[in-house]
């Protein structure tokens, strides 16, 4: 498919990328391109300029601090995360990334792209909310940190606004996590998904049922289904699932994710 005409810039630093994004209203950051290039083909997005973040080493890499906090650069690919010895400190991260699409997509697609595109069917938004991730956003005024539950603002919208970039994600220490999904084919698009993390009590985040992940808490896996019902979900419907069926899946998957979390 021939894309609409577009300008292309490959900045040498995050500072330069931010300048380009701030100076051009129609500019969009190009991360792995595994979503953006396709929505450009369909004209669902028509940026005037692509600011290619590939090559910005300062946005890559995974660090494990002494207190167990993992810091993941936004341009880290799924494959890099899966292969990272440091990322094994929080095993759920690599496990979930291994179920995203296919090898080719995992080799190019990035952690930052997954959360910033905030497609409600993406895997990482609910996972980031459940594990209590903190997102660092850079802009003209400097850096700010936003908790994951405040990062996702709407369908395809995040707290990283125009002229800003997500630069890294910090994930606190922890191991008792779970993730469950019903997908279109093995490792396909999620019809519904849920992530859970146990840290004294359970944090459960539901995907695919609202514009942003729905965060619930429960004392134990037995209480999760009731917490989901109490959220009075009215999920979207499509050819794959009615609203009622998605709400049902949310209960089932939230319970499975919670059971996996406490069993670790």
């Amino acid at each position: 498919m021939l894309l609409r005409e577009v300008e292309y810039a490959k900045p040498a630093s995050v500072a330069e990328a931010l300048e380009l994004l701030a100076a051009n209203d129609g500019a969009r950051a190009l991360a792995g391109g595994q979503t953006l290039i396709n929505v450009m083909k369909s004209r669902a997005a028509s940026p005037d300029m692509l600011v290619d973040l590939n090559g910005l080493e300062e946005l890559r890499g995974i660090e494990l601090a002494g207190d167990g906090t993992l810091t993941i650069g936004a341009m880290t690919t799924y494959s890099e995360l899966m292969a990272s010895a440091e990322a094994k400190a929080r095993p759920i991260l690599g496990e979930v990334c291994a179920t995203i699409a296919d090898v080719q997509v995992r080799n190019r697609g990035t952690i930052g792209g997954n959360v910033c595109s905030n497609d409600p069917t993406n895997h990482l938004p609910p996972l980031m909310v459940a594990v209590g991730a903190r997102m660092t956003i850079a802009g003209a005024a400097g850096e700010r940190e936003v908790p994951a539950e405040d990062f996702f603002l709407g369908v395809y919208m995040s707290a990283a606004g125009p002229g800003e970039l997500l630069t890294r994600i910090a994930i606190p220490a922890g191991k008792q996590d779970g993730f469950a999904a019903v997908t279109l084919g093995a490792d396909g698009t999620c019809i519904a998904n849920a992530a859970a993390s146990m840290n004294g009590s359970l944090r459960v985040a539901l995907g695919c049922v609202d514009a942003v992940p729905v965060l619930l808490t429960a004392e134990s896996p037995e209480g999760v289904a009731e917490a989901v019902r109490a959220a009075n979900l009215t999920p979207p419907f499509d050819v794959h699932a009615s609203s009622e069926y998605r709400a049902h899946l949310a209960e089932v998957l939230a319970t499975r994710a919670a059971q996996e979390a406490v069993a670790r």
Binding site: Q34, I37, N38, D52, V103, Q104, V105
Partner: protein
């Protein structure tokens, strides 16, 4: 934009529009028509190439992103008209029917075997997940890859 890209060991310099996808650059500008366009939505894997050592779908990359990159396509697999053991195995195991998906299958299996010369059956299936065979000839493709796994 001026782009310098090495494809299968040959370096090319071309002037390309930023909107041109890598698959179109390979096929239309360089006349390397081995890589195919199947779905053009990133699903089918017929356009798979090895991009700086990493398997990728060339319909989700811009040609300008390949500036300075080393790209391997199906044309680069055999040397001097000799098939690679993997290509030979595809022949022997009838691992192609219409052949449209074959270039992508070969690149994905090549990338797998470089990284893991002894993949299990499950690892082969997982590695070929991004490549769709619309003839549904998966069984023989799996047999072919298995036969060259050490």
């Amino acid at each position: 934009m001026d782009v310098t890209v090495t494809v299968n060991g040959t370096t090319y310099e071309r002037d390309v529009e930023p909107r041109k996808l890598l698959i179109h650059f390979l096929r239309d500008d360089l006349d390397l028509t081995g890589s195919h366009i199947g779905c053009d939505t990133g699903n089918c894997g017929a356009c798979s190439v090895i991009f700086d050592g990493v398997l990728a779908k060339s319909c989700m990359l811009l040609a300008v992103q390949a500036n300075g990159a080393n790209v391997e396509t199906v044309e680069g697999l055999g040397e001097d008209g000799e098939l690679t053991p993997l290509q030979q195995a595809f022949n022997e195991h009838h691992a192609l029917q219409c052949g449209y998906c074959t270039p992508g299958m070969l690149m994905s299996a090549t990338a797998l075997l470089r990284e893991n010369p002894s993949p299990s059956e499950d690892e082969i299936k997982k590695a070929l997940q991004g490549n769709i065979c619309r003839c549904t000839g998966y069984w023989n493709i799996l047999e072919a890859v298995k036969s060259v796994a050490k």
